[in-house]
C-alpha cells in the first residue's frame, strides 16, 4: 500500500487528529486575504475525475494551488479511457510522468484500492463508488468542531440514501472512532440492516422524527438517483417522509447544526427554509473542504 489516503476505516484517531489540527491552522491562515504558501512548490498533483464533480475537484485544485503545487485536472470524458484504455493502463501512463500524487474519483467502489495494489504512486481517494469519501468525513468533522467542543458524546443523525452513500460510510467510521453516536435514517430499501453492524456506535431507524430527536448534528444526503438500478422508494413520497423541514428543528437540540455534502436538492431532501436557516452550516463545509484538503495534500506530498 502507498502512503496516500484511501479511506477513514483504517485510520487511527491520531492520524485523523493530525489532519484536523493541521486543517485548523490552514483555516486560520485562510481568514481574510489568503497568502499563498510554497510548501509544495515544484510538486505536481493530478486530479483524475472519472465522475462528475465540481466542488470536490475545485476544492482539491484550490488547496493544491494555495500550497504552491502545480495541478492538472483530467475528467474521464477527456482521457483515453473513453478510447477503451483500461484503468490500470491509464494510471500507469500518468504515473510514468511522475506526478507526486493522484487524486482520484471513480464510480466503482474500491477502484483506488485496486490501483494502490499495483502502483507506487500515492493515491488520494476523492470518492469511490458507494464506499468511502475520506476528505468529506474529515471536513465534516472539522465543521462540527467549529460549533461543538468535541465529537465524543454527540448525537449525529445521517438521513437519506444511506446504502448508496460513501459520505455516510466515511462519517460513520470517523464519528465512531471519536465516540459520537450515529443514527442512520432512510427508506427501508436504502437502509439495509447490515449498516447497523458497521461500527458499535450505529443505530438505524426509518422514522426521521426519531432520528432527529435530541440530535446535535443533522446530516442530510442527496438521493443518488444515478447509482440506483431501480426506484426503491416512491419519489413523490420522499420529501414527505425523509425531507428535512422547519418543524423538524423543534425536535433536535436548540443549537443543532444542519449539514449537507452537496449538491443540495431544495424541496427533495431539504426544504429551502432549513437550507438557509441559522442552523445550516452547508457553506462552512465547503470552505472547510479546502483547509482539509490542504492538510491531506501536505501530508501525502510534502
Amino acid at each position: 500500500m502507498t502512503r496516500g489516503l484511501l479511506g477513514i476505516e483504517n485510520l487511527d484517531r491520531a492520524e485523523i487528529e493530525a489532519y484536523l489540527e493541521r486543517a485548523k491552522f490552514f483555516q486560520a491562515h485562510g481568514e481574510g486575504q489568503f497568502k499563498k504558501l510554497d510548501t509544495l512548490r515544484g510538486k505536481t498533483l493530478v486530479n483524475l475525475f472519472f465522475e462528475n464533480s465540481t466542488r470536490t475537484r475545485t476544492s482539491f485544485e484550490i488547496a493544491a494551488k494555495r500550497l504552491g503545487a502545480d495541478t492538472i485536472s483530467i475528467s474521464s470524458s477527456g482521457s483515453s479511457t473513453s478510447k477503451g484504455e483500461s484503468l490500470v493502463d491509464t494510471l500507469n501512463t500518468l504515473a510514468a510522468m511522475r506526478p507526486h500524487a493522484i487524486v482520484m474519483r471513480h464510480a466503482a467502489s474500491g477502484a483506488p484500492h485496486f490501483l494502490a495494489r499495483h502502483l507506487e504512486m500515492p493515491i488520494i481517494n476523492a470518492g469511490d463508488g458507494l464506499h468511502e469519501h475520506p476528505t468529506q468525513a474529515l471536513l465534516d468533522a472539522l465543521t462540527i468542531l467549529d460549533y461543538k467542543p468535541k465529537l465524543e458524546g454527540l448525537r449525529v443523525a445521517i438521513i437519506g440514501d444511506i446504502v448508496h452513500s460513501r459520505v455516510a460510510r466515511s462519517n460513520v467510521y470517523l464519528l465512531s472512532k471519536f465516540g459520537a453516536g450515529v443514527v442512520l435514517c432512510g427508506p427501508a430499501p436504502l437502509l439495509p440492516p447490515a449498516l447497523g453492524q458497521l461500527t458499535n456506535n450505529v443505530t438505524l431507524t426509518h422514522d426521521i422524527r426519531e432520528a432527529i430527536a435530541g440530535a446535535d448534528v443533522i446530516m442530510m444526503l442527496r438521493v443518488q438517483l444515478e447509482r440506483q438500478h431501480e426506484t426503491p422508494f416512491p419519489p413523490g413520497d420522499y420529501f414527505r417522509f425523509y425531507g428535512l423541514r422547519p418543524d423538524h428543528l423543534n425536535l433536535c437540540k436548540p443549537d443543532a447544526i444542519v449539514m449537507h455534502p452537496g449538491p443540495i436538492n431544495r424541496g427533495r431532501e431539504i426544504s429551502s427554509e432549513v437550507a438557509d436557516s441559522k442552523h445550516s452550516v452547508i457553506l462552512n463545509q465547503v470552505e472547510n473542504g479546502v483547509a482539509i484538503r490542504m492538510a491531506v495534500l501536505e501530508r501525502v506530498m510534502g
Binding site: 467502489s109 474500491g110 469511490d128
Partner: protein, 425 residues
C-alpha cells in the same frame, strides 16, 4: 495397444465398495484385472497412492468456440488432466452458443482431436440461451449432449422452463439450472450482506438463488423431469433440495470447492479473483453446503471452471467478469475441507467425483472394475504442495488459491489406458 500395471496402490471404487491395496492391470485401454501380483511390461509404482475411477467434472467452461483467448478445448482439457479429471462436461455459453447439433458436433470432434480428457457437451435449453424459444434439444441429444442448461443465463420464464423440462424428460436428458433470479440479483457483484454493505458493492442476495431453486423443484414435480441444481451456494437452497429428495423427486445438486472453502469475509477487498456467480456466501451458507455434502442433499462436487484472461480480471471489481479457474485445485480443496476435517469419508469424496455425477448424466463412467474403460485418477492424501498458478495448464490465471498450501492432491491421470498427465516427482 500398451499394457501397464499400477502397482501396490490403494484401490478405491465407490460403485463396488472395494477398498484395498491391489495392482491394477490395464490392457488395450481397458481395466484387464484388479488383484495381487499382476505384471506388465510397464509398471507405475502407486505405493501410497489412491487409485480411483477417473474423476468427472460435470461443470466446466472450455470457452471454445468463440472465446479462445480465455481457454480452448485443448488447454482446458490439459488443465482437467492436470487436475486429476478424466472427463469434463462443458457448458454451452460459447459463441455461438451450443444450441444446435452443429455446435455440439464441432465440440465433440474438436475434443477428439485435441483434448487429453473425455469431453461431454451440455446443450443450451433455449436458442442462444436467450430464454425464449427452446433449442434443438432432440437433435443435440442425437449429436451427443448429456444434459441441457442455460448456465450463466438462467431461464427466467417459468413457462419456458416447464416446456424445457417436459422436452428433456422425453429425450432422457437431465436439466441443469444455474439458479439466479436475475431481477433480484441485477447489478450485484458479491453476496448481499454485511461485507457488501461495508465494501460498497451491490449485493447478489441469497434469495435470488433460493426462489429459482424453489420454482424449479415445483416444476420438476409437475413434469417428472430429472433436475440438477448447478453450483448450489445458499443454505435455504440446500434445504429445499433436501425437501425435494425427501419427496422422492429426481432432484440432485452440485457444489463447487470454492463455495465450501471460502465465505464473503475471506474476500481480499476488490480482488476480482474472488468474484464469481454464485458469489462467495456467508459463513452460515458455507456451513450449510458443507453439511449438505455430508448428509446427502448435495450429490456432486463440480468446479465451474470459468477461465478469464488477466486483461479482463485486472479491472475495477464491478467491471470484471464473473468466474474463477477450478480444475487444478478441486481435489486439494476437497481433501482439505471435507476429508481431512472428517466431514466425509475419502470413499464418499471419490463418489462425489465419480459415480454421483455419472448417475446424473449416464456417461457410463465412474467405475474401476475389470472390463471398464481405463479412466483412472491417482492421488495422494498427505503430500505437501503449493498451488502455483503460473504453472497452470489453463490459458487463464484467475484463481484465489494461488500460493495456497495443500495436503494431498492429484498425482497422475489416465484416460483410455494412457497417461495424460503425471506429476513431476
Amino acid at each position: 495397444m500398451s499394457r501397464i500395471v499400477l502397482k501396490n496402490g490403494r484401490v478405491m471404487d465407490p460403485a463396488s465398495g472395494h477398498d484395498g491395496v491391489a495392482d491394477v492391470l490395464i490392457a488395450d485401454g481397458k481395466i484387464a484385472a484388479i488383484g495381487a501380483n499382476l505384471e506388465a511390461p510397464e509398471a507405475f509404482d502407486a505405493t501410497g497412492l489412491i487409485v480411483a475411477p477417473g474423476f468427472i467434472d460435470m461443470h466446466v467452461h472450455l470457452r471454445e468456440p468463440g472465446f479462445e483467448h480465455s481457454e480452448t478445448i485443448e488447454t482446458g482439457g490439459r488443465a482437467a488432466a492436470a487436475g486429476g479429471f478424466t472427463s469434463v462436461c462443458c457448458m454451452p455459453n460459447t459463441n455461438p452458443v451450443n444450441d444446435s447439433a452443429v455446435v455440439t458436433t464441432y465440440i465433440i470432434e474438436r475434443a477428439r482431436r485435441v483434448s487429453p480428457v473425455n469431453v461431454y457437451p451440455i446443450g443450451a435449453i433455449t436458442k442462444g440461451s436467450a430464454g425464449e424459444e427452446l433449442a434443438a434439444i432432440g437433435a443435440m441429444k442425437q449429436a451427443g449432449i448429456v444434459a441441457i442448461s442455460d448456465d450463466g443465463r438462467p431461464v427466467m420464464n417459468a413457462r419456458v422452463m416447464r416446456r424445457a423440462m417436459e422436452t428433456a424428460k422425453s429425450f432422457g436428458l437431465p436439466v441443469i439450472n444455474h439458479c439466479e433470479d436475475l431481477n433480484l440479483s441485477a447489478g450485484g457483484d458479491m453476496h448481499e450482506g454485511f461485507e457488501s454493505v461495508k465494501l460498497g458493492l451491490r449485493g447478489i442476495p441469497a434469495c435470488s438463488e433460493d426462489v429459482m431453486v424453489a420454482r424449479d423443484i415445483l416444476l420438476a414435480e409437475v413434469t417428472g423431469a430429472r433436475y440438477h441444481v448447478a453450483h448450489i451456494s445458499a443454505r435455504h437452497s440446500v434445504e429445499m433440495v433436501r425437501f425435494a429428495k425427501a419427496r422422492g423427486l429426481p432432484v440432485t445438486s452440485e457444489v463447487c470447492p470454492h463455495h465450501f472453502t471460502l465465505c464473503d469475509s475471506d474476500i481480499v477487498p476488490y480482488d476480482s479473483n474472488f468474484k464469481m456467480k454464485p458469489p462467495l456466501r456467508s459463513c452460515f451458507d458455507v456451513q450449510a453446503v458443507t453439511e449438505g455434502l455430508a448428509t446427502g442433499a448435495i450429490d456432486v462436487i463440480a468446479t465451474d471452471h470459468a477461465p478469464h484472461p488477466g486483461s479482463e480480471k485486472m479491472q475495477e471489481f464491478e467491471r470484471c467478469p464473473f468466474g474463477i479457474n477450478g480444475l487444478e485445485t478441486a481435489i486439494g480443496l476437497s481433501l482439505e475441507q471435507l476429508v481431512h476435517t472428517g466431514r466425509i469419508s475419502l470413499m464418499t469424496m471419490i463418489a462425489m467425483f465419480t459415480i454421483k455425477p455419472n448417475a446424473v448424466l449416464n456417461l457410463g463412467k465412474g467405475r474401476l472394475a475389470a472390463g471398464e474403460t481405463a479412466d483412472v485418477t491417482l492421488f495422494d492424501t498427505d503430500r505437501a504442495w503449493n498451488y502455483d498458478l503460473n504453472k497452470s495448464q489453463s490459458k487463464s490465471r484467475n484463481s484465489p488459491f494461488h500460493g495456497r498450501p495443500f495436503r494431498g492432491g492429484q498425482v497422475a491421470t489416465i484416460v483410455n489406458g494412457e497417461f495424460v498427465w503425471r506429476l513431476d516427482r
